[in-house]
Structures are given as C-alpha cells and as structure tokens.
Assembly symmetry: C2
Homo-oligomer: 311 residues x 2
Amino acid sequence: MILTVTLNVALDVTYGVDSLRPRTSHRVGSVHRRAGGKGVNVARVLAGRGRDVAVTGLVGGPTGALVREDLRAVPGLRDELVPVAGDSRQTVTVVSGDDGDATVFNEQGPQVSPREWRMFAERFAVLVREASVVTLCGSLPPGLPEDAYARLVRTAAGRGALTVLDTSGAPLLDALGARPDVVKPNAAELLAATGSEDAGAGAERLRALGARSVVVSSGPGGLLAVTPDGRRRAVPPERLAGNPTGAGDACVAALAAGLADGAGWPAVLREAVALSAAAVVRPVAGEVDAAVYERLRTTVTVEDLHAPQPH
Amino acid sequence: MILTVTLNVALDVTYGVDSLRPRTSHRVGSVHRRAGGKGVNVARVLAGRGRDVAVTGLVGGPTGALVREDLRAVPGLRDELVPVAGDSRQTVTVVSGDDGDATVFNEQGPQVSPREWRMFAERFAVLVREASVVTLCGSLPPGLPEDAYARLVRTAAGRGALTVLDTSGAPLLDALGARPDVVKPNAAELLAATGSEDAGAGAERLRALGARSVVVSSGPGGLLAVTPDGRRRAVPPERLAGNPTGAGDACVAALAAGLADGAGWPAVLREAVALSAAAVVRPVAGEVDAAVYERLRTTVTVEDLHAPQPH
C-alpha cells in the first residue's frame, strides 16, 4: 500500500469568471469544489492507476466534512484522515475566461493542538506498517512543530517504508536530517531552499543535508534527478499546454509507484515525466489524460549526465 | 415585527491579503466568515437597534448550515429561513492590505425547484401576518420565477404589510407592477433600470411603473426621495471614509423602521442618511457606529425640492 500524508487538506474551490478585474465585483459563472491538498491529489492519481492507496492527514469542521464526502466518491481511495477540532482550509482559484489565467488564494489551515498532533503521530505509526512507500506533501497547518515531517520520515523508516517528500521552505529543510529517500522540489523551491540558481548544485546541497535522492521539476523542462546511482535528466518529447497545477502531484505519484515497484531510475523518471505531462492537459489536479500518458511513456528521453551542470 | 426576505442568503467570506496580484498565488492572512445577503444585513442593523425582526428566505446545504449557525449568535434576531436541497452560496471578498481595496466574487446560489418556491411562498404568507413591514432585498437564486418579488409584494399587501424593495435589473422591473411601497435603487441600478442619467426622472419612471415611493441612494451624495408627498434630498453633513458595502442595507433598515413607526418622510430620510453613514465607518456590513449615528441624526439636512432636477 502507498500512504499519502496531507497534513493540511483543503477544499479546493474553483471560480470561473469572465475576466478578473481587481477592485470590482464579479459574477461567478461556474463553481467547482473538490477535496485537495497535494497528498490528496497524489492519492487520486495513484487510485486512478489502480494502486492500493490510503490518504491520511488532519481534517476537521464543516469544510473537512465536505473534503471527506468528496473523497468517498473516489473509487479505490481509502480515507484514513484523523479528525481535529478546527475547520479545514479552503483554497479559492479564480480562473479568468479571457486568458485562462489562474489567481489563487490559499487559507493557512486550522490551528492544530499539541494533543491533536500527538494523536496523529500515533495513528501514523500504525498506518505506516502497511505501507511500502509514504508520500509527505504540502504545507503544515498552524500549530504543528517545524520538525513534523522529520518525525514522520523517521517513523516511516523505522517501519521499513520508503519516503517521498514534497514541501518547501522550513518544513523541507527541517526534514532533511531525517534522511528522506526522495525529495521533489520544483526549481523555484530549490532556489529558495538552497540559494543556488544551478539545479544540480542545489540538489547536491539537499543531498548533503540528508536527502538520499533529489528530483527537481522544471515544468516543461522536465526533471533532473541526482541520486546515489548518478545524475539524469528526463525531458518530455513535446510541450503540452494546460494547467500545470497538478503536474508536481502526478510526478510524486509516479515516484512513489516506482519506489513501491523497485523500478530503476531511468524507468521511474520516464513514468514521472509522462504522468506529469498527462496531468497538465487535464483542467484539475489529481487527474491524468490516459492517451497522453500512454503516448509519452515510451517517448520521454532520459539522459545520463556525467559532467556537472553548466551555469 | 419587521420581516426581512433574503431569497439568496450567503456565507460572506473575507480574505485579507498583502496585495492582490492577478495570476499569482496568495497566502490568505486573515479569514472571516459571516452570514450575509442584503436582507440578513438589514436584519442585523434592525436587531442591533432593538427592533423585533425576523429573517426569512431560502437556505440549504453545508454552507447554509454555517449561515444559520452564525445567525443564532445575533441577539434578538429570529431565524425563519426555509430549507432547500441545494447548497447556499458563498461570496468571497479579497481585501488588499496595501490599498484597502476590495475585490468581490459572488456565487449565483443554489438551484431552487418550483416545489421549494411554492413551499416558501406558503410559509411567507403565514409569516407576513405578523409583520407591519417587509423588506425584499437582493438577487434571486437560479430557478425562481422572475416575478418572485411581485408575488411576495402582493401577498404582503394583501395581509396589510408595507413593502421596501431593494433589488436591481429584471427582478426590480418585474416587481413594480405589484406596487411596492418603497423602492431603493442606488444611482447605478436606477440608470441600468431606466436608462435615465437624471435621478429624479429615473425615480419618476419607476413610480410610473408602479412604485409608490422611490429613494435613490448616491453614496456620499445622500438620498433623493420621490414620494406622493413630494421630492426631497437628504445629505450627510460630512463625508465619512470607510466601507460602503453595508450602507445601502442600513438605509433599507431605516426606511423599514420609519414605515413601521408611521414617521413622516423628513424624519425617515434623516434617519436613513445617518444610519447609512454610520454603517460606512464600520468594516463589515450589518454593523453601525452608534456615535456617528447619534451625531448625524440631528445634523443631516433634508431639503424640499419643488423644481424638477436639472440635468
């Protein structure tokens, strides 16, 4: 089983408007609400590919009830979320009909008490026994200790599960000492965390701080993987237009599935690029286009890089 | 008792952000949620002034449950909302910390079935027996007949209750034939409804279509009233800075209270201008500043206009 952790689940609300004009009132033409948060999207992708997957994390309040109701509708997805007293957050994405551009408003999430965090950590220690791979994705809600991900990574490792970490800023840096198996920053997150404009040098810096392997996503530029097995670049054969929101989550899903299967890095990276690109062409995070995926998984190029990356 | 009708109640959500920048992601610093919709705000103002007031309208779903929970916390406000199957709407107002400007996203509201509308109309006919004045405010949710307000105005009149109507567009024009006692458009709504740039001529046009009296609000320019008793302009003695969102609702509250008391138009208009201005200085709709109200209610000027308004 793959266990995806989303400590700050969200109800993702998408508003379609004719044109976003600051300082005016807008009539919202279309409204979509769905369970979200990076780990929830990862789980959707895995469930959609027939994988045995469970979602855990913290959920609460009337917004949390809507999140759980939406998760119940996903075939094959097991809800192992742990209740908290606060109300789960909402995110609002405003999509402008004139240019298709998205403007996003992210609530921070509920205040979590030390007792709630302890109860979650205990539940996680039980759930992880069934898991071969654990993904840890997204921001931390207020009240959690900064080393929350470090603690979960250590618990997972102690139970023999591999870990994939996709977060940024302090939670990322604080988790590295726990030696996660794979860390997946995007290029901007890597720059923010390491100060390095060079992805290869930045990835090496995260490895020096404890990450076993680092996979850096660069949108249409594909992936750079720095692993004990060498350095590789995987690039999609074509540039796909669409919504990049869910591409990182699809990438994490592929990395988790590859680790679970014990696949080699070239195969894992090929799948990760194909699944990311197949997510870009779908309008919402957590979905992938099967035809694009099938076309790309055999045409993604994976290149061994022996020399350091030029600046 | 004053009965306020809000057919499209809302959960008004306010997000504080540092600066609204289209096509980017924003961290929401502060989140406030409260029951809204124009008639709910009118009822808050009336309840705050010690008036016997009840709220009716249509409410449903998890968002509607949050609306009702918030209403329960308002002292003296009676919840007579009628349940529907759909989920009540949410509005999102993004307030930019750098300039204080507000950008608003209004969902349209739940689809209402003909049967739900019939059940509401029956319940309204019972409630209105207790009411001396009924206010009918705001937009109509999808599924309601365009003559919804006309029907409610006729029912109210048949039971001896006076009516104050605050809506716009087709629902406004469709209701006039039912002869509402007071119609309160703002200047922009009056222009949209009549095509007349001249407020006096526009108001006369609404009266010709059936409104007994018309009170046009023009923000800091005050009110123009065209009534069977003549034409008057009421102007605040000072210009107050703040949030104009709730000013129209405070105005409707004062008009309803004045009708309920059988007050003369000069007194009604003085109160309406003072209460509107006292709402402007408060950050959220439905609240008024008691000190500003007390200061202005004796200093508002009300002028009899005998000549037609110049262009």
